[in-house]
Structures are given as C-alpha cells and as structure tokens.
C-alpha cells in the first residue's frame, strides 16, 4: 500500500498547480466580468470584425 504516498504526492502537486493557476487567473482579471463571456461565446463573427467585447447587454426574449 506504500505506493499510495506516491499517488497522493502526484495528486496534491497537480491540485496545487491548478490552484495556483486559478489564483493567477483571478489576479490577472480573468473573472472580473462573470457575465459577458457567457454571451460572447455565442458570437462567431466569421469574416466580420474582432470580438464585439462588451456593448451587448441586450437581453433576448
């Protein structure tokens, strides 16, 4: 059963890496806006402009 210490070590290292990545993402402002991304992904703007960013606060139906 001693191999469980290896498995636990691997798992905890990965968890810490992801936790760190998450903290960094929050600090970099990735989640400052927790609404727009959900709407933005609906627009593909193929052959049009870059992402509309904001400006789209209209509620459909």
């Amino acid at each position: 059963m001693s191999v469980i210490y290896i498995l636990l070590t691997i798992s905890i290292i990965i968890a810490i890496v992801f936790f760190f990545a998450f903290i960094m993402a929050v600090k970099n402002g990735q989640y400052d806006d927790s609404y727009t991304p959900s709407v933005r992904m609906l627009f593909d703007d193929e052959l049009v402009k870059e992402t509309p960013k904001k400006a789209d606060s209209t509620k459909k139906d």
Binding site: I14, Q30, Y31, S34, S38, M41, L42
Partner: protein, 245 residues
C-alpha cells in the same frame, strides 16, 4: 482597431468526426458480438482471436479511446479554435495527433485479439503503444496550449479550463499507470508489484473515467449546449466555481 482575417482548421475536425463514427460502429459491433457470446458461448469456438477474453479489451478500448477519444478531439479542435479566436497552433501537430491516434487504434485492433496484453484494465495495450499514447497526449497538449498562447480572446472561456485539465490529468494518469519494464517487443512487466499494482491500476481506472469520459465532455457541453440553444448558460460564475472541485 486592426481587422484580422484568419481561417479555422475545419478539415481536422471533420477527420476526427469521421473517425469517431467509424470506430463507434466498429467498437459497438464488437460489443454486440460479445453480447451474443453471453447467449451462445460457443459461437467463436476454435478461433482464439475471437475469444471473449481477447475481444472484451478490444471492445472497451475501441469505445473509450477510439470512439470517445476521437469525439473529444473533434469537439476540442472545433470549439477551442472558436473560443480562442485562433487557428490551431500547428497544422502539423494536428495531423500527427490525428494519424498517430488512428495508428494506435489500428495497432490495438491487431494486437489485442492476438493476445498481447499488459492485463491492466483499460490500459491493456503493451508498452510500445503506451509510449505512443503518451507522445500523442503531449502532441495534443502542445497544440492546445500553443493555441492558448496565440489566442485573440484574452478571457479563457470555462470550457478551455476543462480541456487543459483533461490533458494534464489524463497524461499523468496514463504515464504513472503505464510505468513498466519491457522484456520483449510486446511483453512488459509493471514496475509495481501485487497490491501496489492493483492500487495504481484503479487509481488510474477510476480517474480515467472521470478525466477521459467526464471532464472533457463537461467542457464540450459548456460550448455546444449554449451554442445549440443560442442562449448563454444560466450562470457563468457558477460554471467557474464548478470547475474548481
């Protein structure tokens, strides 16, 4: 603002979709044959490569890694290009990912019925394939992370986080479970012995279900369901929180 024009790589997506359909049919037909073997156990008597014990791993590997695996690649290659507003990092890597993965599947379809197996459930393929699978994981991760770095959309949509988690965890699970000592071209022994091996095997087995069959599809659903419904998910904040645990 400068207007940039670029093209998504839809060909690679199509290839993965066709492969998904093909291996889906193959994998499920083998499953059907196995189901018949429950009713008529002597159906394939005398043909060693059609015996139950050899076909079962072929069925599970075909459905999980060929059918589901290609579906994951198809969905990830389609959605991450659109979410990151960038073509995949490298067309060459995309092609290596596709053809390499199909070669591994064909190799599995040949060696498993011939009886070459490491006997680890859901990881039956012998060591040359284990190495090839690890290489394909790295190629896929490299391509995905490269695309993330050259993205035009600063915010990483929640689905992308799921894809990254899938790549990292599946690679780690595969590599640590497959540590083995080769003794010949198609025979190897696990570096873990006895109960240690069983523990590592099911650490892999259960987490493989979580991170190969669940995590990637949660990510894909966060893309394809809002797209299909043409309305945003109920709570984007919740989706981010949900990724945490």
């Amino acid at each position: 603002m400068e207007v940039q024009q670029f093209y998504y790589d839809n060909k690679i997506v199509k290839k993965f979709i066709y492969a998904t359909m093909l291996w889906g049919v193959v994998g499920m037909l083998v499953g059907l044959l196995l189901a018949f073997l429950f009713l008529f156990p002597n159906l394939t008597d005398g043909i060693s490569w059609l015996s139950f014990g050899r076909l079962r791993p072929l069925h599970t590997n075909a459905v999980i890694f060929a059918f589901v695996g290609n579906a994951i690649f198809a969905g990830v290659y389609y959605s991450s290009q659109r979410l990151l507003k960038a073509r995949m990092f490298s067309d060459v890597l995309s092609k290596i990912n596709f053809w390499g993965w199909q070669l591994i599947i064909v190799g599995a379809a040949i060696t498993l019925p011939l009886g070459y197996t490491s006997s680890k459930e859901y990881a039956e393929l012998e060591w040359p394939f284990d190495i090839a699978i690890a290489v394909m994981r790295v190629v896929f991760g490299w391509n995905l992370i490269g695309t993330i770095f050259k993205r035009r959309q600063r915010h990483l949509y929640v689905a992308i986080w799921f894809y990254i988690a899938t790549f990292v965890t599946v690679a780690v699970l595969h590599i640590f479970n497959s540590l083995e000592v080769p003794v010949s071209a198609f025979k190897s022994y696990s570096v873990y012995a006895g109960v240690q091996d069983a523990l590592v095997q099911w650490w892999y087995g259960h987490n493989a279900v979580a991170f190969f069959l669940t995590t990637p599809f949660l990510g894909l659903m966060y893309y394809f369901i809002p797209k299909a419904a043409n309305r945003p998910i109920y709570s984007y904040r919740l989706s981010i929180v949900h990724f945490g645990p």
